[in-house]
């Protein structure tokens, strides 16, 4: 049984504490929704979990996964940036990330179809709208299977249909024994435990530190 345990995690950025004393545990099939006002450290928490920021103190343990691989290698991270190249087509972008992340390239057309980009497969990503770019980012969650999803504001720029799509993807992920840690302001259409971050002091707006 897979289980992600976080104990007494603290993060310091630029000499200032962002959050401290964060502890929670998620088991397979569960989701944790991270809440908090702007600057409370939601993005920082997800980046620490993804190994993209050093933790000041605390432990992050993933039990029951691939013992040879780190948490980062078993996790999908979807942040504010979509990691797509404007001059590559939709298919080329997804195909690259699928291959690079060790996924199944044969699933690329199906994944594009299921995020609603099937008809745009040969279009350069430069022509996509913000919501379509977000859908393209989410498509890599389908082509490369990872047990842990770290989602930072996954609903950003998505329309209502897109949010339903995302909710469906997350339900499938949980049903297949994965686990999700998501930071959000908007309702995700997901029943998960809530983790409320209260920044220890006033922080600049999130955009400044992201």
């Amino acid at each position: 049984m897979m289980r992600l345990t976080v104990e007494d995690l603290a993060c310091v950025r630029g000499g200032r504490p962002v959050f401290a004393g964060v502890s929670f545990a998620v088991a397979a099939g569960e989701a944790v929704v991270v809440l908090g006002r702007n600057g409370a450290g939601k993005s920082s928490l997800l980046r620490v979990l993804a190994g993209l920021l050093p933790a000041a103190t605390g432990r992050i343990v993933l039990d029951g996964g691939d013992a040879e691989a780190s948490l980062a290698e078993q996790a999908h991270y979807v942040g504010h940036l979509d990691a797509q190249k404007a001059s590559l087509t939709v298919t080329e972008n997804l195909d690259f990330w699928t291959a690079f992340l060790g996924g199944d390239r044969a699933r690329v057309p199906v994944a594009l179809e299921s995020v609603g980009l099937g008809s745009l497969a040969d279009l350069p990503a430069a022509h996509l709208s913000a919501g379509q770019r977000r859908r393209l980012s989410l498509a890599r969650l389908l082509t490369a299977r990872r047990p842990v999803w770290l989602l930072d504001e996954p609903t950003a720029a998505l329309d209502v249909a897109g949010q339903d799509l995302l909710a469906g993807l997350m339900r499938e992920q949980l049903a297949s024994g994965g686990l999700i840690v998501a930071a959000t302001h908007a309702p995700l259409g997901l029943t998960g435990r809530e983790l409320r971050l209260n920044g220890s002091r006033m922080m600049p707006p999130e955009g400044a530190s992201a």
Partner: protein, 222 residues
């Protein structure tokens, strides 16, 4: 392995598409080679004597020209985050990006160098010898440049900082590259002596460049 092949394919595609930097270096070299004879004047002997050095300076600067965006672009669109998380070792990821950059920037410079030599009154045979020294030396320039490109991400400064950081490391390559070219044309030093040192510099930088660049990118996580 699949992951790295996919990365190589993507990098080469990006470089040759519109907005990529594949031919910028070659055009820069052309500009250097065209203006030098106007500056030097009609002294063909002088031009022939300094020709290999001019070609090498042009190639050195052209190689560094397109490098500063190599990691900065991936950093800005979030791709670097995913590369840091991936199971492919970051050193190899960096090395593959360097190899793709050399294929699309360094190799074209080597190919056009004999033609550029004609502008400097170097005959085709001499130009080919100079190109041979560049084939051995330009990978060193690219792979040392990786360090500067990674530091440009870490320090959040791009542009001119990179050539300034890399220049001290690139100077030995320039010295032995020009020395090997001169040895091939006029002697008296045998061609092999500077050429083998040039090869050694390249082999060392093929190892050191990716390791140092990956370390810089890891430090840049903020």
């Amino acid at each position: 392995m699949n992951a790295l092949l996919a990365l190589l394919q993507r990098e080469v595609r990006l470089a040759v598409r519109i907005g990529g930097g594949a031919l910028i270096g070659t055009l820069f070299l052309l500009a250097v080679v065209i203006v030098v004879p106007f500056a030097i004047g009609p002294d063909l002997n002088l031009l022939r004597r300094i020709g290999p050095a001019i070609l090498w300076i042009g190639v050195l600067l052209a190689s560094l020209l397109a490098l500063d965006r190599l990691f900065a672009a991936d950093h800005e669109d979030g791709a670097l985050d995913l590369m840091l998380m991936a199971s492919a070792p970051l050193e190899l990821t960096v090395a593959v990006k360097g190899a793709a950059h050399w294929l699309t920037t360094g190799l074209p410079l080597v190919v056009v160098a004999p033609l550029m030599g004609l502008f400097l009154d170097l005959d085709l045979g001499t130009g080919l010898m100079v190109a041979a020294t560049m084939l051995a030396g330009t990978p060193a320039l690219t792979f040392l440049g990786l360090i500067g490109a990674a530091l440009a991400v870490a320090l959040r400064r791009g542009g001119l900082l990179l050539p300034v950081l890399i220049l001290p490391l690139a100077i030995p390559v320039l010295v032995f590259g020009v020395a090997a070219s001169q040895a091939a044309i006029v002697g008296p030093v045998p061609f092999g002596t500077p050429f083998t040192i040039l090869c050694a510099l390249t082999l060392a930088s093929l190892v050191l460049g990716p390791v140092a660049a990956a370390a810089a990118l890891r430090l840049a996580r903020e």
